[in-house]
Symmetry: C2
């Protein structure tokens, strides 16, 4: 790979996304993208005894499905890049426990999916053959861990987002017919002082802006170069902020830009407030919906910018603001 | 890089460790390695209002120190690989918040330091120039999060280990005179059913064995090829187990093998029970002690195998066993 501009890397090898798989929970199965997902699970527990164990099952089954679709054997996979929102990333580690494949745990909060695609591409660019990337999140395990016990029935604030229940997995390979990952722009931690842990869209939008502007500037591309620029989970609040911030920087992204958290749920019929979020948001929307648009040649150039809020419950309790990050990956036919 | 054997990668480029820095807390400053650390802090809070904020300061200051020693500017660093034990890795994210350097968060529990060295090497092998790797842990923040409030004064079990307070940071570069990272063997998640969260050494030893045997088998090297084989934090219990398990597999490692958690504290004078642990254990012992042995040519070949327990408090409460992982990195003059 070669560094171009300040922070973007152009991959030397053609890194092909040879297969994807997406599995979602009941609320996502009622949303506008339901027909695109590989599997819709009707019960948040999916037959397990806890939400955490269910989340591990989501990421495990999505990864097995992606691997099966790739027609590669587990022994062909050089390593896994995987992460999630649970403390110490236990969804990924327990989900991949039986894989017998070298495992690298990663954590970028909800930006983890694009972090996985980036590091997976680098691994292949350096000489590996095949890499599996997977992320998950679960509404119930996330609410329990980050906010309140669901049993309390707390009212949610208008700016809050709904953590997507599900998992997305992709197999990357140096051998394949595309779509290809061509560039990636790793994110810089950006903290504009937002302290409201129920307004993640506002906390993450400045990080998305920084990565977007860096990517466009480094590559010399205009927003219109892409058929679609997609952020991971800024939701309705963050999406509006990003459009305005980009316009202030001279970039009109309104024609090509959308957010996976906005696409995931039906705002009129499904009461999610500010839209979807979570590591599974960009992972399932990409693996389920966007990948199919690419393969069917409805679109040919996508910039996926997954966004993450790098805080925890303790940091908020200690009065800290919320650092954001956004990792961008360019995917082209 | 080229894959050799089943799971080992030989790096094409010479990845030089151009600088290291280590900062430790008060207990570590009383241990046998005190003269090797760059900075010994006398107060667990280090002037901050919480242990979490102090841990962020450890990783931030260690990284600034390593960067300064490298004579590189922050703008020369292509990206940071960093992680820690706190929920959602907040020590790393808050510690690196002001760096303005592209940031990849990683999580391998106490194996994170070798995961960082591996992925940093891959990043340079693929085409980047310079990478910063850093990990931290803190006894007080770890006890509070994983076990009991320190104020309770709970008795610790004989097999329990003492989380190292500190941070280690290294700068990797494609330009440098060594020591060089020449090979790495990523770990496979290994779970032998250990459920005692106060016996991490036993939980992680089988993972260390698997990575060690894989590395030796893939490279065709015997244990004696290395001047030193070092695990990250198996402690006294895990160290004994690994020696026995390796002997059962036909490898006598007793002459060249030691553990960073054993080296860190004085067993007779410092009451740590089974030795040191934590992301900072291998990071500070390597950055402080081992790196200097290499630079001064007292040793020339080291295999560092950082070990991690991939669980959290919830998984233990839900009756899960403790999956282990171990990532190996070969460092040679």
């Amino acid at each position: 790979m070669k560094k171009i501009g300040t922070n973007t890397f152009k991959l030397d090898d053609l890194i092909s996304i040879v297969s994807t798989a997406s599995i979602v929970g009941p609320k996502e199965s009622d949303g506008p993208l339901k027909e695109y997902f590989d599997k819709c699970v009707e019960d948040e527990f999916w037959g397990e005894k806890s939400w955490e164990k269910a989340e591990s099952k989501f990421i495990k089954e999505a990864s097995i499905s992606a691997l099966n679709k790739s027609s590669l054997a587990a022994t062909d996979i050089d390593c896994i890049f995987s992460g999630d929102l649970l403390n110490q990333c236990i969804s990924s580690t327990f989900g991949m426990r039986d894989s017998n494949i070298p495992f690298y745990g990663i954590f970028g909060a909800c930006s983890t999916f694009c972090e996985a695609l980036s590091l997976g591409s680098v691994f292949i660019d350096a000489g590996a053959n095949n890499v599996l990337c997977a992320t998950s999140s679960h509404f119930c395990s996330a609410e329990k861990q980050f906010r309140f016990p669901l049993e309390l029935g707390n009212q949610r604030t208008p700016n809050s987002q709904w953590t997507v229940t599900g998992a997305g997995s992709v197999v990357l390979s140096r051998n394949g017919k595309g779509p290809f990952i061509t560039h990636f722009t790793p994110g810089v931690i950006t903290d504009m002082g937002i302290k409201d842990a129920n307004n993640m869209g506002a906390a993450m939008a400045p990080a998305a802006l920084k990565t977007l502007i860096t990517h466009l500037s480094d590559t010399g591309r205009s927003p219109d170069y892409y058929d679609m620029i997609l952020t991971g989970d800024l939701g309705y609040v963050g999406k509006d902020i990003l459009i305005k911030l980009a316009a202030e920087q001279g970039y009109d992204i309104s024609n090509v830009y959308n957010d996976c958290g906005v696409l995931m749920f039906d705002q009129a019929k499904q009461d999610t407030h500010a839209g979807g979020s979570g590591c599974a948001c960009s992972a399932t929307v990409f693996s389920g919906y966007i990948y199919k648009l690419l393969v069917e040649k409805n679109i040919s150039k996508v910039l996926l910018i997954a966004t993450g809020a790098l805080m925890n419950a303790t940091s908020s309790q200690q009065g800290e603001s919320i650092p954001g990050i956004a990792h961008a990956v360019a995917i082209e036919l």
